[in-house]
């Protein structure tokens, strides 16, 4: 089924010079495996289009259920040279979460169950895996 990444994952982004990094994190092993298949360097490069001029590198971090994307040439020179409002790439995280992916229904259901469970625990003050 088609979902936006924000429905099954969350993210944080930052900068290193003219490169923005986006760490994409998900909730279950199954979802992680599905994201490894779906959210490829090519797809991320296509997603960002002209916002990323220097290519995309991806690192897999299965122990954190995370993928790290380096978006080179994305920050108008980066640092203090950049004229961008978001010169430090802080909002690239949610820009990636806009991407649409096709995931097996049971994977999406698994993430939803897990998110639901975690949010319930958060609110009850009894979190934990």
């Amino acid at each position: 089924m088609k979902v936006q990444l924000r429905e099954v994952a969350f993210a944080r982004s930052g900068d290193k010079g003219d490169t923005a990094n986006v760490g994409l994190i998900t909730y279950t092993e199954e979802a992680y495996e599905a994201l490894v298949r779906e959210v490829t360097e090519e797809r991320v490069e296509g997603h960002f289009g002209e916002l990323c001029q220097g290519g995309v590198e991806r690192y897999e971090i299965p122990n954190l259920r995370a993928l790290n994307f380096l978006l080179h040439g994305s920050l108008d020179g980066g640092g203090t040279r950049s004229l961008m409002l978001d010169a430090q790439g802080k909002t690239f995280s949610t820009a990636l979460l806009r991407m649409e992916v096709d995931l097996p229904e049971e994977v999406v259901d698994g993430v939803r169950d897990r998110m639901h469970e975690e949010r319930r625990r958060w609110r009850e003050g009894d979190d934990g895996e």
């Binding site: 900068d15 990094n21 971090i61 949610t94 820009a95 975690e118 958060w122 609110r123």
Partner: protein, 458 residues
């Protein structure tokens, strides 16, 4: 938590972070160390600029009144402070501390440890002459190509000198450009006696440092996992409870806001990450792909299993050099047709800049409220936006061209498209661009000049 843990609390993630955080860390529960990270590359060049105008300046000034306020608590609660507030002038920071603490009634003097020697600017010409060409790690160019424009040059120091200061009894350690992570793991080396080739433990310390170095970003600040449910009015900043074997628990003081879960900690772990297997520091290379996280519940996340490798041969140097000028200004256009008016204003502005014959490397226009953050990913803006902010920036080598641009925004209020406002802040400022030149330098060059001094203040 048992007695064999050492608690290193984070109280500041950058210069300008929440002033209450370090006080809450010291007063709201037991901690052993308070680490305060003030520095970023841009901060160093700002401090260098301040020091060039005033030789006594060039450090994080708000650190001084903070220590005056906290000094009695630090002694009473036996808390040691480790920070890089010294910026480009650690000795100036120390002098200011000594001066301000002279008026505070303390049960015993505070011992201030100061680490100097990260600055390689003063001997830059000599270093280049002796063959340290400090090539740009990204472009390969030698530093000599921008030598006359260099404004600040600082090597990233590791834990060594901080550990020395702690061993000599410092209550407050002030460094210049130490790595952010060393502020957390230097106390662990000191407490646990980790060896210089204890790569796994050192790497665990680096991971702990990475979690601590951005303050509340590890405890629910900026979290996208479930931001609605986090109380951020008075968030607890992270506290690392470390054990001798390198494992540790990330937590926060109970009674404060924020949250510590696998999600908030993972978000901070991936922040500003490059290759996860190659997190390079002066003391070891940490492998983030070996981290094992376990959410224990109750705002406690355990981290273990971290592996590390041998430290690099050379140290990283951060060099800031002047690289032209820029300015950014904004105007706000109201409904109806806000986006169309802003676009027309941009055309008018650009037409005027062209008529004046001004030359810029770049003119960038963003419409805040209509895709400035996510660009085309946000799609075409809706026609009926209540307002939109036009934000225009220019960059050029010639200062006078940028200065002339700053005079061209205000005229758009009367001589431009209608229903415009938002110029109360006045003309934009011309900013000098400080570009960064990442390079490597031989350890010995820096090691030979690093010094640790301890002074008593009361």
């Amino acid at each position: 938590m048992s007695d064999d843990t050492v608690r290193v609390a984070s109280g500041q993630g950058f210069w300008g972070d929440w002033l209450e955080a370090p006080k809450l860390q010291v007063r709201q529960g037991p901690i052993d160390y308070l680490m305060l990270d003030y520095l970023a590359e841009i901060t160093m060049s700002i401090m260098q600029k301040q020091r060039s105008r005033n030789p006594d300046a060039g450090y994080a000034r708000d650190f001084v009144p903070l220590i005056r306020e906290l000094a009695p608590d630090l002694i009473e609660r036996d808390v040691t402070v480790v920070c890089n507030a010294g910026g480009v002038n650690p000795e100036g920071c120390r002098d200011a501390l000594v001066e301000i603490l002279a008026d505070v009634d303390l049960p015993r003097p505070l011992r201030i440890g100061v680490v100097t020697g990260d600055d390689v600017l003063s001997d830059m010409d000599g270093l280049i002459e002796r063959g340290h060409d400090m090539r740009n790690m990204e472009t390969g160019e030698p530093l000599s190509s921008v030598q006359d424009r260099v404004q600040a040059a600082n090597a990233y120091l590791g834990a060594g000198p901080i550990v020395e200061a702690l061993e000599r009894g410092a209550d407050v350690v002030v460094t210049g450009r130490s790595t952010d992570t060393a502020l957390t793991y230097a106390p662990l080396i000191h407490e646990f006696g980790w060896g210089p080739e204890d790569w796994d433990r050192l790497a665990a310390g680096v991971v702990a440092g990475h979690i601590n170095e951005c303050g509340a970003q590890a405890t629910g600040g900026n979290t996208l996992a479930d931001w609605r449910s986090v109380d951020l009015v008075a968030p607890g900043y992270p506290i690392v409870e470390a054990r001798e074997d390198g494992s540790f628990v990330v937590t926060k003081h109970p009674g404060l806001g924020g949250r510590v879960t696998w999600a908030t900690v993972t978000e901070q772990l991936v922040y500003e990450m490059g290759d996860p297997a190659e997190y390079i520091t002066p003391d070891c290379v940490a492998d983030f792909s070996t981290i094992e996280l376990e959410d224990l519940g109750g705002d406690r996340v355990e981290v273990k299993g971290v592996e590390g490798r041998e430290r690099p041969e050379q140290l990283k140097v951060s060099i800031a050099y002047r690289d032209g000028f820029k300015a950014t200004g904004t105007l706000t256009y109201a409904w109806p047709d806000a986006v169309e008016k802003a676009r027309r204003a941009d055309e008018v502005l650009r037409g005027r800049l062209e008529r004046l014959g001004l030359e810029f490397d770049e003119i960038r226009t963003e419409l805040v409220g209509a895709g400035a953050c996510h660009g085309s990913l946000a799609g075409e803006p809706p026609e009926e936006l209540p307002e939109v902010e036009m934000r225009v920036g220019v960059r050029a080598d010639r200062k006078e061209h940028v200065a002339r641009f700053t005079r061209e925004l205000a005229p758009l209020i009367l001589a431009g498209p209608p229903s415009v406002t938002g110029f109360a802040g006045g003309r934009p400022k011309v900013q000098t661009i400080m570009a960064f030149w990442p390079a490597l330098i031989d350890r010995e060059v820096v090691d030979d000049q690093v010094e640790v001094q301890i002074v008593e203040a009361a």
